[in-house]
């Protein structure tokens, strides 16, 4: 601050200089006199610094204000930092998953000393996904997976920390039976995609691979091709709009937090004017105050982020978990936050002060605020729609314009949503103007809103963006979900589980079926055994060109599940009607009396050289196929065990269709355990009528959590505003109590005062959300689908916010309604 020695007032600021000299005495901490004509930056810096000092030294009240701002901004910054960490969380996870990946494109390597044979042995346990792999080295230099120090020997396994915990717990009792391996080590972090991942690597013998349906060899771990597949354009749009929807309210909240305690601050500034500060100076001082608060908020946000990061880093959510070290904001985004947040706090403060004239003797609010104009408020959403409309039907079509289109879509969505927040104050004003009749609480609330609808609208505008965006997103979800939720064709009423296993012969197949039937929780098992057969008379040279079909061997009840058979006795043979078969009509060779080749080469192709012939009996009946419980239709030859001996099949596969006993809990787990005892990597498929992409569910859940957090933040800021308003009217409240106003009357008026803007905001956001959603759906070429349940949920949350704000305001209201408030003078 300037000392008196350079204090020769220049003619320009003579008035303030004099005022300072005369009035400086009464102030206990005299602010330094305004320096005359300093270079602009230094003046700014000096005034901002003084504002910061006021934020700290201004007594309890300004501390309270600074802390409120800091906490508010801090909460917002925390959310922003998490958002800024998403890219690195994603890339960290991707790097690891790529390193773990054990599949190559192109030729499978020949067995050698440096190769390993493996098979996926994933299993579900309850609602948990367990990633597993069984392996057997071909030689003495096998590659080992990342995160473990060697290849597990047969009968041993390495497990992830989370799986180790699960296996050791009571909850993991049934799982222990399923994984009959000795745990020899724990997989390190570099071999896991997240800390809560359930994963194991088990060693088995080469012999055990005989029962594995799909096994392969690799000579190194890690996916060679890391380019990854491009995200579905609909998903890109979801992510872009999702970010906009989550981050806009946070920005709005930060802006609101910068205005906390504004009215009291203004009064303090008026006192500053009295001792000689000019208008510009007071503005800069006010800006300095909120700058300090927001910088403090940055610190609070960073601290909160570090704290929460630890918490998030440990836990898992929907089978997703992240390492703490991965939750790191990318540098450019972190820098952007560090700069934007304080800057926007300053800008918001300066804008807020524009409507206020701070005079030495008090604060003059522009008594009759200008009527809000509609045209420019409409301009924003119209512009947004204008940007989105041309994309209709064509989003993600041309890969060259992809980036540009993404930006255009994001800009359109941002403009549309911001346009809604700009439209809201006008709407509130226009609607509230027509109110006024009605019971006393209603009258008090609406009159209050008429007088200052701006404050209320500002607080609610965050909700508008969040809800409108959420509605649009949910529409996109509903439609994308409908598309991704396919009818599987499976019929869980006929069988709940399907087990596929490789068997050597019919005896083994029957043994497997018998073991399943004996398993606890199994109601019935229909077993079929099938293999590939080829046309014995084909003249084709290349084995790959020889027509093939399948031969299914099963008893009559099981055959009835796969074909429409009227009469069946052991010894019968059926042929699926050619026109219903998968085989092209000109290649159809399966008919009664036809000769077929049973022999198959090692690579699975027909072997025309070493034929093993069988003739379809001439008595075979032609039947029509029937969808089996998995939704598939069989083709080829169906034979009863009496007509065909399974032992003649060279590479038979057994399929068990299992019906569970609904009375036995955990029946599924018992079946999975039984299957694991039959073979190490057997496929147990759970049948369900529909299937849903888990990706969508994850995104949906994340968005829901984000939207709820945002709404809670906004609720918090509304509570602060309401409390501030109440505190300013302490005296009036006491007077109202004096002449006998009931508590309920004032409580209801607070409810209405919160409800009216929130309801209007919700209405506007539903309209805007439906419009945005429709546009987005058009862009990805989906049919219109409104997620009514989601809409109801959002409305419910909005109502919850109203109730929350009212309830939180009631205790202070009642405290202030005590007569002590009359004793102010």
């Amino acid at each position: 601050m300037s000392g008196p020695k350079d204090g020769h007032p220049s003619p320009g600021d003579g008035a303030t200089g004099r005022a300072t000299l005369t009035a400086v005495r009464p102030s206990p901490r005299p602010p330094a006199p305004e320096p005359p004509r300093r270079p602009g930056v230094a003046r700014w810096a000096a005034d901002l610094a003084m504002g910061a000092r006021f934020a700290v030294n201004g007594g309890r009240e300004s501390w309270a204000r600074t802390i409120m701002t800091a906490v508010g901004v801090g909460l917002g910054v925390t959310l922003l930092l998490f958002a800024a960490s998403v890219p690195s969380m994603d890339s960290g996870r991707n790097e690891r998953t790529n390193a773990i990946a054990a599949f190559g494109f192109g030729e499978e390597p020949k067995p050698g000393p440096g190769t390993i044979r493996l098979a996926q042995a994933n299993t579900d346990y309850g609602d948990k996904d367990i990633q597993g792999m069984v392996m057997a080295p071909d030689g003495d230099r096998p590659p080992h997976p990342p995160g473990i120090s060697g290849v597990p020997a047969a009968g041993e396994m390495w497990v992830s920390p989370a799986l180790k915990t699960l296996l050791a717990s009571d909850e993991g009792k049934l799982l222990r039976e399923r994984l009959p391996y000795r745990t020899v080590g724990v997989i390190g972090d570099s071999g896991l995609s997240g800390p809560a991942e359930l994963r194991y690597y088990a060693g088995i013998t080469q012999k055990q691979f005989d029962h594995v349906i799909s096994d392969y060899r690799i000579d190194r771990w890690g996916a060679q091709d890391t380019s990854g597949d491009d995200l579905d354009p609909a998903l890109v749009l979801l992510v872009v709009v999702g970010c906009v929807v989550l981050l806009l309210p946070v920005l709005i909240f930060i802006a609101t937090a910068a205005r906390f305690g504004g009215e009291r601050r203004d009064r303090r500034l008026a006192a500053l004017r009295l001792v000689g500060a000019d208008t510009h100076m007071t503005r800069r001082i006010a800006a300095g105050e909120s700058l300090f608060g927001s910088v403090l908020g940055l610190a609070v946000g960073a601290a909160l982020f570090l704290l929460l990061r630890e918490a998030v880093g440990g836990g898992s959510m929907m089978n997703l978990s992240f390492f703490t070290s991965d939750i790191t904001p990318t540098l450019p985004l972190a820098l952007a936050i560090a700069v934007t947040v304080p800057a926007s706090a300053v800008v918001v403060t300066l804008i807020a002060l524009r409507a206020v004239t701070i005079e030495p003797l008090g604060v003059v609010r522009n008594a009759t605020p200008k009527r809000r104009r509609l045209w420019w408020r409409l301009l924003l959403p119209v512009l947004g729609i204008g940007l989105l409309l041309p994309l209709a039907g064509g989003f993600g079509a041309g890969s060259s314009g992809g980036d540009l289109q993404t930006y255009q879509a994001a800009a359109g969505a941002v403009l549309l949503l911001i346009g809604l927040t700009a439209l809201l104050p006008w709407l509130v004003e226009a609607v509230v103007e027509r109110f006024g009749k009605g019971p006393v609480p209603w009258q008090l609330a609406t009159r209050r809103l008429q007088l200052s609808s701006g404050t209320a609208a500002r607080a609610v505008s965050g909700i508008t963006v969040a809800v409108a965006g959420a509605i649009a997103l949910q529409m996109l979800f509903a439609s994308v979900e409908a598309q991704n939720t396919e009818e599987t064709g499976q019929d869980p009423n006929r069988a709940q589980l399907i087990l596929n296993a490789k068997v050597d012969n019919g005896a083994q197949a029957n043994d497997a079926f018998a073991r399943l039937r004996a398993t606890k929780g199994v109601g019935s098992v229909l077993g079929i055994t099938l293999d590939t057969v080829s046309d014995a008379r084909s003249k084709k040279k290349d084995p790959a060109d020889i027509p093939t079909d399948s031969l299914t061997v099963a008893d009559c009840p099981a055959l009835r599940e796969v074909a429409r058979i009227t009469s069946c006795r052991d010894g019968d043979v059926f042929v699926i009607n050619g026109s219903d078969s998968y085989v092209a009509p000109e290649d159809a060779f399966v008919k009664p009396g036809a000769q077929i080749n049973l022999s198959v080469r090692d690579d699975g192709l027909p072997s025309p050289d070493k034929k093993k012939l069988w003739t379809v009996p001439g008595s075979a009946t032609k039947v029509r196929p029937r969808e089996d419980p998995t939704g598939a239709t069989s083709s080829g030859i169906l034979a009863t065990p009496g007509a065909f001996d399974i032992a003649d099949l060279p590479d038979p596969q057994a399929q068990a269709m299992i019906r569970l006993d609904p009375k036995v809990p955990d029946a599924t787990e018992y079946v999975r355990n039984a299957s694991a005892s039959i073979g190490p990597a057997l496929d147990v498929i759970q049948l369900s009528g529909t299937s849903q992409s888990s990706e969508f569910q994850t995104i949906r859940n994340v968005l829901f959590i984000g939207a709820t957090a945002t709404l809670l933040l906004i609720g918090a800021s509304m509570i602060v505003t309401t409390l501030e308003q109440l505190r300013d009217r302490k005296r009036l409240l006491s007077v109202l109590v004096a002449f006998g106003t009931r508590r309920t009357t004032l409580s209801w008026s607070i409810l209405w005062q919160t409800a009216v803007p929130v309801v209007l905001g919700l209405a506007l956001s539903i309209a805007g959300g439906l419009a945005l959603g429709t546009l987005l759906l058009k862009m990805v070429g989906e049919g219109l689908a409104v997620d009514w349940a989601g809409l109801a949920m959002m409305t419910g949350i909005g109502a919850g916010v109203i109730v929350l704000v009212t309830l939180a305001s009631l205790p202070p209201l009642w405290r202030m309604m005590r007569p002590e408030g009359l004793r102010t003078e």
């Binding site: 006393v440 008090l444 209050r448 009036l732 009359l822």
Partner: protein, 228 residues
């Protein structure tokens, strides 16, 4: 000290806020239609006496009788309802609801009593005419002068036809001329309607509108009617 026919009688009131006693054995009584000034220096307990008399504050000990009822024995809700119906209030400042228009402010006590909007506003308007502020009926309190605002407040205090009007420094924020006019209108209206007025003031010229005065000093009230 408690002459027969009194409407409101306080007997040996004690009330402390924290360690400092605001009332220390105060007595008071008022007849229907009587205007009594409560005088005394700042901090003497004038306002506390008024709050106790009006049932806004419950005294620590002592009794307040109003129309055969013991105020201190009533519940908060009962006292609130009494204040709504039988008492009126005028304060120094900050008493009008800033977002309501003047006529709505005047009508407010009636509406709190469940009177229909139209009727209450009609009655409010007639009182505003009497107090010469009918012309600002549609304006908000922020848009009218201090004197007008105070007359609106007086109209509001009288609109329910109260039996006791409590006025706490009603002219404290006004200049002499406006203060005088407010006092004239207030006392005239009160005498006509036989409303008793408890007038807390430290200004002698305001107290001169009363029939008698009570001086509060150190938490004790002294009725000066018996003197001379």
């Amino acid at each position: 000290m408690t002459p027969a026919g009194s409407l409101l009688i306080a007997d040996d009131l004690h009330k402390s806020y924290g360690p400092t006693p605001a009332l220390d054995g105060a007595n008071f009584s008022i007849h229907p239609g009587e205007v009594v000034a409560v005088m005394g220096p700042s901090g003497s307990g004038k306002s506390t006496l008024l709050h106790c008399l009006a049932g806004i504050v419950r005294p620590d000990s002592g009794a307040v009788h109003y129309g055969g009822r013991e105020l201190t024995a009533l519940s908060d809700a009962e006292r609130s309802s009494l204040r709504r119906g039988e008492f009126g209030f005028v304060f120094q400042f900050g008493q009008l609801v800033p977002e309501l228009t003047c006529v709505e402010n005047v009508a407010l006590p009636l509406r709190l009593n469940g009177v229909k909007r139209k009727e209450s506003e009609a009655r409010a308007l007639s009182w505003m005419e009497r107090l010469e502020v009918a012309d600002v009926a549609a304006k908000r309190p922020g848009e009218v002068s201090g004197g007008q605002g105070q007359r609106v407040a007086v109209a509001r205090s009288l609109v329910t036809g109260p039996r006791v009007l409590f006025a706490d420094e009603p002219t404290g924020a006004l200049d002499s001329l406006n203060g005088e006019r407010v006092m004239e209108l207030l006392t005239e209206a009160a005498r006509e309607t036989r409303t008793a007025v408890v007038l807390v003031t430290h200004e002698a010229r305001v107290a001169a509108y009363s029939d008698r005065e009570v001086v509060v000093r150190d938490g004790k009230a002294r009725d000066m009617a018996g003197v001379r």
